[in-house]
């Protein structure tokens, strides 16, 4: 009997990680931990007031989630591309006010309720996109640092929202109010639209060429440029997308509050950035997960609503949010292989 030779090991290549190891990696990923945290927080609130897990409370949560999720999604794109957009909050305000003004004008001129609302939505998106274009021009043409450029539009938007509205809420729109409350189970039709849009944004970020370029530019803009990617054009498009989503959020606030208020969305950029950071994206760009941001928004929404629910003064909200940011950053620094800290 001849000795059967075992085939020599192939080069130095290792075998791909086993299924078990991949499952372990999935379970210890930041998203999984965040998901556990989210569920724990919800259980905590339910423990204190047993009606937290109820359809009425969940429909409230979804409404609040939808007010925050689009600008957080926008911020995810911007931050992964290596930038930051501070202007999303005041863009919500200014686009909502302008949209409300247009709707009030059209309805006053017998334009019909539904067409007026549709035109108003387009106007909101348009105003948001315009702010995005201004940001894009300042960043890609005038070569301003994104922080400074969007700080300019943050202040300008906040001021203009007050100027246009003279400080008060524009319009009272019962049709919008009624429609925004209709839906099925815990969802309103408005929230269904927002959730579908959010899902599309997540898919585009992670499986499309556009999303790939977003990561590449944030990771190494020189390499991206050398690979033939039009970096300026992409960066411009990201800020325009961000403005557009902030504009649409302005319309969501219009429906929710049945009017355009200059306070809507003010300061929400920090909440959006917090959600992205909690979600595990790197503030220097190149890394992040869309699902992380989504869970981040969910945690912030639950904390915000839950504190009210168990009768804790909402002034504590910021403190609790700060604790979650600290926790997220800690998780990031503990996770192996992550050299990129804040």
């Amino acid at each position: 009997m001849s000795i059967v030779e075992t085939p020599p090991p192939q080069g130095t290549a290792e075998r791909p990680p086993s299924l078990l190891r991949r499952c372990a990696a999935l379970l210890t990923s930041q998203q999984s931990i965040l998901l556990v945290v989210l569920i724990a927080v919800m259980c905590f609130f339910d423990f204190h007031n047993s009606r937290f897990f109820s359809t009425s409370e969940f429909s409230n949560l979804i409404v609040d989630f939808c007010e925050a999720v689009l600008i957080a999604a926008a911020e995810t794109y911007v931050i992964i591309s290596g930038g930051i957009d501070l202007s999303v909050g005041s863009t919500v305000a200014v686009s909502g006010v302008v949209g409300a003004y247009v709707i009030q004008y059209l309805e006053g001129h017998h334009f019909g309720e539904v067409p007026s609302l549709l035109v108003g939505t387009l106007v909101c998106a348009g105003v948001g996109a315009l702010v995005g274009i201004i940001n894009a021009l300042m960043i890609t043409r005038a070569r301003l640092v994104p922080f400074v450029a969007t700080l300019v539009t943050l202040s300008a938007g906040e001021g203009l929202a007050l100027v246009f509205s003279k400080g008060g809420t524009i319009g009272y729109d019962p049709v919008a109010a009624v429609w925004s409350a209709t839906g099925f189970w815990i969802f309103t039709w408005l929230s269904v639209i927002v959730l579908v849009l959010t899902a599309i944004l997540g898919i585009v970020l992670h499986v499309s060429r556009y999303g790939r370029y977003n990561f590449a530019i944030g990771s190494n803009p020189f390499a991206a440029r050398a690979a033939g990617i039009n970096v300026n054009r992409h960066v411009a498009s990201v800020y325009i997308l961000s403005g557009l989503l902030a504009g649409l959020t302005g319309m969501i606030f219009y429906f929710q509050t049945s009017g355009g208020a200059p306070q809507s969305g003010i300061g929400n950029e920090l909440e959006a950035i917090a959600a992205v950071v909690i979600g595990g994206a790197s503030l220097v760009g190149g890394a992040g997960r869309f699902t992380g941001t989504i869970i981040g928004v969910a945690i912030l929404t639950v904390v915000h609503d839950g504190l009210t629910f168990i009768n804790v003064a909402t002034t504590w909200n910021e403190v609790v949010v700060a604790a979650f940011i600290a926790l997220a950053v800690l998780l990031q620094s503990l996770s192996a292989g992550s050299k990129k800290l804040l």
């Binding site: 290549a13 590449a216 990771s219 390499a223 033939g228």
Partner: protein, 252 residues
């Protein structure tokens, strides 16, 4: 090597000035397939200007450039890439947060078939698989457990970057200081990839300050001084001392 062989890259009387500063003066040379050419010179000797001219970052003021026998005039780096020249700059490299496959196919992504592909959906599986295959062709085995480039060592990263250039280049790859900041063993990895690229029939322009590396891997060395070619000779005719003398202009 037969004498009549067509050069894959030829520069004829290239001159370039930035304002009043003369960067290149009447530079001419020929480069052939399967040849590694060292491009050396002191700081300010014109190495960067020369590679930028070849790769289409800027155009020369006068002179002609031929690739594969055809006169070329670049409008952008994209044109030179189209013509089969890949350039690896010092600062460009790879995107550390992306997977190896994503880096190899950066800017040239493969899309899924059908409707999804039209919508811009990536065919990530095929890209990862083909990237590993192509890297293996130039002797690079990447550990499968290492997904993103940030998990690779400096030498592995540079090897992958050169592998990427070799995969996409039809004719010429230009490497600007590829062994900079690398340790001795890591540099060796990089030099191995350069040799593999040459054996695949590519012409490699190797720019480096590390003269032992240049002497080890090149077939021919072109020395630039003050924007002009001062010597163009087979590597066997140089020693570290004579090369240093030619670069500085101080005879040894």
């Amino acid at each position: 090597m037969s004498v009549e062989r067509e050069p894959i890259l030829e520069l004829r009387h290239i001159s370039k000035s930035y304002g009043s500063v003369r960067a290149l003066t009447d530079v001419s040379f020929r480069a052939y397939s399967g040849e590694v050419i060292g491009l050396v010179g002191d700081n300010g000797a014109g190495k960067s200007s020369l590679i930028k001219t070849i790769s289409g970052v800027h155009n020369p003021d006068s002179g002609e450039l031929f690739v594969d026998g055809v006169a070329r005039h670049w409008k952008s780096p994209h044109d030179s890439m189209q013509a089969g020249i890949e350039t690896l700059y010092q600062d460009s490299g790879l995107a550390p947060d992306l997977t190896i496959g994503s880096n190899i196919f950066l800017g040239r992504e493969l899309l899924r078939r059908g409707v999804l592909g039209r919508l811009g959906f990536l065919d990530q599986k095929t890209m990862e698989r083909r990237a590993l295959e192509e890297l293996e062709k130039v002797g690079i085995t990447v550990p499968l457990s290492k997904r993103t480039v940030s998990q690779l060592s400096g030498g592995q990263r540079q090897a992958v970057a050169i592998g990427r250039a070799a995969m996409w280049a039809k004719h010429v790859i230009i490497l600007d200081e590829p062994t900079n900041h690398l340790g001795a063993r890591q540099s060796l990895e990089v030099l191995k990839v350069i040799t593999a690229a040459k054996e695949q029939g590519l012409c490699v322009l190797f720019i480096s300050h590390t003269l032992p590396h240049v002497l080890e891997v090149t077939d021919r060395i072109i020395v630039l001084r003050l924007g002009a070619v001062v010597r163009d000779a087979p590597t066997t005719e140089y020693t570290v001392e004579s090369l240093l003398g030619t670069i500085t202009g101080l005879s040894v």
